[in-house]
């Protein structure tokens, strides 16, 4: 694997602040022995001091 790498993204999205996880994409990931389908997710909330 030396010298080899994979790239995913970038992802661009609009969030409603405080919403639950938003799925941005579905990708394949691997630990070198097994491949798995996975969801890329993000969420955004106000910082606690600014809620």
């Amino acid at each position: 694997m030396e010298g080899r790498y994979s790239v995913a993204g970038p992802w661009f999205t609009v969030h409603k602040i405080g919403d639950d996880w938003k799925t941005l994409d579905e990708i394949w990931i691997s630990n070198g022995e097994r491949n798995d389908k996975a969801r890329v997710q993000a969420r955004v909330n106000w910082a606690e001091e600014q809620e």
Binding site: G9, F12, H15, I17, L24, D36, A42, Q50
Partner: protein, 177 residues
Amino acid sequence: MKRLATAALVLMLGVTGTSWGDDGASQHQPKVIFEPHGGSLCASGCALSRHPTPALKWESFERLLADYSGQPMSEESPALEELLFYGPQTAGMLEHADGLLDRERQAFLVRELSRDLVRVEFRIIDESDTVRVVLPPTTVPFDKRFVFEPLLTADFQPPEASGTVKRVGLHHVWQRI
């Protein structure tokens, strides 16, 4: 179950959320690195540099205030949404706009413009609902590009990630990650 998996991963690796000051400088947290990229205005992310917030002209600002004066203090107001989209530019101009807004709307707008920190989270979760990669709740200011490293992983090689968040309305933000 998903929350348990995330919590377990965070606890297992002994990491808590990170926080940043208004100037984007680190506050003793090694997990998030402010990395300027590009030279545009208040934006420092590569995506924002390519799509910078346009300059808000005074005439447009006055028109937005006039429109907002007749609209609700909610996301039902297109003018309020646009004023918040311009963020720091609106805040700067508002200091020279005495009497252009009623007191209640001005206070609401000033309060909203002062909210400039968000908590971002990111994860990659597999089909068995195991969280394989997670960025724990991490506080960042708007309009700055951050590199998050290392992300916490389970049975997965540590990836690199960077991102930027920009406010685009009363309840909405735009994110690149």
